[in-house]
Symmetry: D2
Subunit: 337 residues, 4 copies
């Protein structure tokens, strides 16, 4: 039984606490931490009462804690991850790894220095059944090599706090992580570009929406990603993989087909929560299982770092209107799979 | 150039007049007839002015008329068809052949006595692209033999003049004709049954709706037909053919797929006119081409007679609640294909 | 923590043992029983070692056992269920309740005499996401009342031990249970009929396949069920609900859409295991949760009894070729919901 | 009855001759011309025997010829079009208008100088039912303004004579013409870019395939066009219009849905001929009807010229790897609609 401490007791922290305590096998939450003691108390109450900390380092140092889950806001990820590495304890962090490439690099360096694979970044799409079905079809070789990816990331709407940059750092970040994994072959992003088509009347002032992001991998696979977060009609994730010998489309969620009002129709999800909720269960179970075997799964710290570099390049491309390079310096041997 | 006279200048008569005059190749309308002279005049004016008759026999006797199209109400089909046979002139009649099996039999006997194939009945579904695609797939043998047919005949709604019997004689009559042709192999209906499920609140008083008609062919193919003429959501024709090695579904009409209001949707036709309008062109062109070659196509007088017998059996089944036999006495050699 | 004993350690017994021990929350398997001690031992080993019995009554009497799961062959369900009722312990039994209506009735009578709801029958489709989505749409009232159900139960093929009767007792039994629940309103089957269309070349000698079963509820909803267990193309469960104001189709499982070889295609499941495997988890979790609250969920003993009566009527209809009545005598107050 | 002369008796010339003579109403072919007399003779024979010319100018000067159809190879379009304009006779030319922008400009200038609208260019997609359905939906306003177009132009394979430039001039040219018409609002292309993703193993040496062309209109609508002419799986034309309030997809051709071999599938067209064959009929009928009214329809000479300019910019972009401008100088009043 893996004993886990959770750092960060906001919404996602509380949800992961319940998930780990009541749905995932082979794990027990023994401690929670939040700088706001009331938040930590509330989380503790949800899961039957566990130890409460307001200092992450104390939780991490607790000998009862075998492994750490970090669910603080992204800009507070760095310290607890570094502390966990220092303590030699496995750590699962919600995405993004951190909010700057420099901080990510610090974590990567620390993990390599430790000599052990300890960090997993919570990009949950790698655990979605549909993406895995597509990946298996690509891997089967029946469709030849992938050449073009066409993706949409559409949401009904966003609130006024959502900025043009967040179209990259909060939204496209999922595709940035999942697509190289999807096509396999050790792919890495090479260059990126950002187009601003005619803008929607439905976006709030100051927000550029929709955007078309073009990303090319080192082997030449071109990804064209529509980010469209005020589409008005629902949460609509699509991914088409154009291969040499055929085309594969990511399945949509399963809903009844209805006939009514002169239309044959199928529902579109209202929001992301329903679309990927099952993936969280699979993801955390996989993490627990991997930790039990002394390994990691999902996205590594290196992949979290490359995602941050790619996001930086895309943000630069939003401003320059030009093609921007993603320079990673090459995957260290430590992270090669 | 085939010279045609049209008997019956109501809505469908006028439409066929325009179709033959302006869309179909190798044919010219030279005369029209209606018991109401004003109706004949109106039809004549629509097509550039042609001879006008109020007596069908006079039109049929006109030496300028090579062939006859009958578009009177169904209960007035018999006489002009018999006159055309007597005159040895090819005749295309809108469905049904006539409204009673006895009258149909009289026509069949007259045509056989004449020794020439002169009569074609206007069941236009045999000319629909979709039904022909399904028929070709069945014929290909790739799916094995057909075993079960599942059909729907749905309409948005019907007016108060529509009766429970008309569910057979006006609606199911299309499936009665087209299905044996669809599955081929010289099939004939053998026995029929009619079920009345829980009735819709949307039907007018006195109308049984929906109905489920079960028809079995001599070789054991079972057809299950839903007649549902107050469905509220459009004109919706479906046909699934369950074969030994696979299943084939009739295609729906082609409409854009849209995303809006949390739904992925495709339109359903509002009414039958759009669904089968193209088939009329193909049907009448085929008739003209066949007449030019001295033959007939589409549904024969015998098939029109068998359709009437089958409809009679279904109406009997509506009343008896039992399985009723369709007794044709076997296809005469004259009509074997 | 609910302590469970499992009676019957065949394939499904072992699977449920692992499921209860490792996937379901709030439950622990403490004992297993099989008349073959080796089978019980193997099951025990799979779940970390628990008490082993070869006599079901001893397991049921064990004070460490709070509740019982029966996974013996169907014809051995009766005794352990009656023992559990006698001991006042909740019992979950795989479907069918028992293999004869008389035995089912004995269980119903014993449960009523006990005064407590203790029995749940494992019809897992009630826990399938798709059926629940359809049920919710019906319940919403947006589609009006259901009038016709069109179902298919297709399997790639069956082995030589599968008989014509099993098309009812092993296959249609799922629709017999799930459909009244699906349409709600306290529906019960009223009369049934069985048609044998032209038979497939793919069935083994002596097996009637396909069959079309027609079942009517007391309120007149007509269900038309195609049982087609040598279809050759996969496991294909469909259900269309024709309502007064629209039509609802059960969703198919979600697979990528591919373009290859001049076709746009989506996979069909190879067999039932993948189609409903998730439902088992939901079902057993629901049972555990209900037991914790002192109630039952899913199918009751009464519903298991009615399913057996309906199956008997369908088997009679296979032989008579006629419409047969399902006579239940009316739902006892004890089982009214 | 419009009397037409056809210049160019190759494959498409012969097909249009038959179409005009036997399918289109209100028109008669009275003369055909080909530099190879045998070709002209063969075409004449196909349509019942008409006058034969080997000099296009003589055909155009023939007082029996009211209007001209040009079906020579594209590089021989200029002279007969200019002659027809000079003679004041309406002229329908197959696409492209001519093969260079300079020649197109000469035609535009000549037509404007003549003061009459005489030229129609044969881009047949404007007459496809599906594109018109999409256009009507956009025009309805229900989806808001179009922002992004995602198109595919896929073909099973091309022969060795197909070059990288032809991906623009022969293939993308259809989208170049049809898309501004589709979105309406007097749109014109503004800038273009061309990407070369990882290349398919299925293309012949020297051919760049697939290509992704990015085209932006003056109002900012971004079109992303995949040209993929060795896809191996058929002729596959798609077009998705992302609008402010919803998304519209061009319908695919209608084929039966089949279940076989563990797949639900629908056919993809083998080649372009079937996909757009109906459009030719509608297009030429529309031309004849317009000529009868003294007007033109479809694509104008100006639109043919702009298509040539856009193609030139795309070919330049193929070579430069940069964004290239399309400079038209603005639509002359003569061509404003």
């Amino acid at each position: 039984m893996l004993k886990v401490g959770i750092v960060g007791c906001g919404m996602i922290g509380k949800e992961h606490a319940k998930r780990l305590q009541y749905k995932i096998q082979g794990v027990e939450v023994v401690a929670v931490c939040d700088v706001f003691e009331a938040g930590a108390k509330a989380a503790s109450d949800l899961i039957g009462g566990v130890k409460i900390y307001t200092d992450a380092d104390q939780l991490i140092a607790d000998p009862d804690v075998d492994a750490v889950v970090v669910t603080t806001p992204g800009n507070f990820h760095k310290n607890p991850i570094l502390s966990a590495i220092k303590a030699g304890k496995p750590v699962f962090t919600e995405k993004p790894l951190t909010t700057t490439a420099a901080d990510c690099k610090e974590i990567v360096d620390a993990e390599m220095a430790s000599g052990k694979h300890l960090v997993q970044v919570g990009f949950m799409r790698r655990y979605d059944r549909g993406y895995n079905q597509v990946r298996d079809l690509i891997k089967s070789g029946e469709f030849g090599k992938p050449m073009i990816l066409k993706c949409t990331h559409r949401a009904e709407g966003v609130d006024a706090s959502y900025t043009t940059e967040m179209a990259v750092t909060d939204t496209a970040i999922h595709e940035i992580d999942v697509l190289p994994w999807l096509i396999g072959e050790g792919e890495e992003w090479d260059e990126v570009q950002c187009l601003f088509p005619r803008q929607t009347k439905n976006a709030h002032e100051g927000l550029a929406d929709p955007q078309v992001m073009i990303m090319k991998t080192k082997s030449g696979v071109v990804c064209i990603l529509e980010v469209n977060v005020n589409c008005g009609f629902g949460y609509d994730i699509n991914c088409e993989v154009v291969c040499e010998d055929g085309v594969i489309n990511l399945p949509c969620p399963s809903f009844p087909v209805t006939r009514k009002n002169f239309e044959v129709a199928t529902a579109i999800e209202k929001n992301w929560i329903l679309r990927f909720i099952d993936s969280y269960d699979v993801e955390l179970q996989d993490w627990v299982d991997n930790v039990a075997k002394g390994t990691t799964g999902g996205s590594s710290a290196w992949e979290g770092y490359v995602a941050a570099l790619t996001a930086d390049a895309l943000v630069a491309a939003q401003k320059s209107g030009k093609i921007e390079k993603v320079v990673t310096g090459g995957t260290p041997d430590f992270y090669k799979k």
